[in-house]
Amino acid sequence: MSRAVTPRRKLINTTIAWAIGLLIFFPILWTILTSFKTEGQAIASPPIFLNFDWTLENYAVVMERSNYMRFLWNSIIIAGGSTILGLIIAVPAAWSMAFVPSKRTKDILLWMLSTKMLPAVGVLYPIYLLFIELGLLDSRTGLVIVMMLINLPIIVWMLYTYFREIPGEILEAARMDGAALRQEVLYILTPMAIPGIASTMLLNFILAWNEAFWTLNLTAAKAAPLTAFIASYSSPEGLFYAKLSAASTMAIAPILILGWFSQKQLVRGLTFGAVK
């Protein structure tokens, strides 16, 4: 089912695609550009696009004032830890939903997703109290658990979709070959689902990295990740735009690089099952 694409049509398509891409990317581009301006140029009106005095001063100030590496490390621990913990819980859950579904499986899946429809602030108070009770406030452990719980529905949904694509006969063959449930999941299902698991991991890592509501509300100093690092440069008074932009650029750089190198995997992951 291929349609003939004329060169003119192709040119139009390419132009539109680039325009949309740039439009979406523009805020990030502007942040990066602003991070190299002086504070004065950052708020200049009309805005200066490229013709400003490029400077690294903002980065120097930010590095001097805050311990970037500590925030980075917290972000890695929280995003990585919640992703791994989430997978450990979601793989068996998705397995049972995909391969031994009951009449209620669809309902459970929808119910899990419905938790994502609740505004997070609605459960802030109970969770905050629980955290005080359990001594988890401003701890990486606490944030790993919360991040994992928040993204678990998405992980289960994605894995469920991938697992559904794996022919049941192969798992039955493993059972006939003497594999117990644990071995079936470990030696057959997981390796076959690696592409799906990888893109689920990536997406979840990005979501957890960028999450700000919980990280800002449940951390203070010790466990604060890069989102808190950005927020610390947002101030109602004074000239901080360029420094805020520098901090933002530093916070999103690792995930941007990770996303760039894994874009193939991510696109496949997000469109998986859409076309068969």
Binding site: E169, G178, P191
Partner: protein, 334 residues
Amino acid sequence: MGQITLEKVTKSFGDVNVIPPLDLQINEGEFVVFVGPSGCGKSTLLRLIAGLEDVTSGAIKIDGTDATNLPPAKRGLAMVFQSYALYPHMSVRKNIAFPLKMAKMDPAEQERRVNYAAKVLNLTDYIDRRPGQLSGGQRQRVAIGRAIVREPSAFLFDEPLSNLDASLRVNMRLEISELHNSLATTMIYVTHDQVEAMTMADKIVVLRAGNIEQVGSPLELYRNPRNTFVAGFIGSPNMNLFSGAAAAEHGAATIGIRPEHMDLSTETGTWKGVVGVAEHLGSDTFLHIHETGLAEMVTVRASGEFAVKHGDTVYLTPQADKLHKFDKDGLKIA
């Protein structure tokens, strides 16, 4: 080893009763073929024996011990699937070794058995390839290799040849038969192809809607079908079945005569008809005869050289001792 007994086994999916109470005895070393039209429950029956489906009621005994509630892994059976169900991320070697690894067999012994199976099945040159790099026939052999290495008490085959092309199917049929001869292990084989059933089986189980219609050796079923269903299903081309006046003459509701059991003449005979299509196979010619007044079409076998053409008038005479009579319920009249 390899005796399987089904006692009053039933299986329902929700309200749908797929297998009504069914009894079956499979003896050690037998090659048993479950055959029937699609949807007759033959694959379900095999999966019940394998343990991939739970029985709704009844018991399954393997070598005298009750296996009804054992998981598939504990039944000591090996299965070859229609889709081969190879592990796509493992090499041929690892695929074949997988059941041995699961059994925690000594690595040296694993190696020995895998190499032996690869040699027997002509897979030695492909041993380090992935299933995706193999042809259909090679994949089929890997699936068989994976089944034989653990020396199971019985093999289960679920329509294993239906994804292969015609010539390969004939070869694999022979290979499986030879394998059965050399291993002398019980084999249960599911197919909808009655030619496979006839050529491979020691014992054929004909199924319709979950019911066993008849159990017997290929020639028993061919010579002595118990009812019109088995009569029409076993034998190629199909038996001609007539009802009405021609049947009433023999005191039956339906009579059956196989294409190869009629004498053909251009001059005289019991039934007269006109030649329609002639299928020349070389050794034989099958003629479709119309306007006989018996049925829409009658198939008759002629020798390969029998010279008639479309529109010729011919005469058919059934061989009296090869005529099958059935009552109004379709059951054979003794």
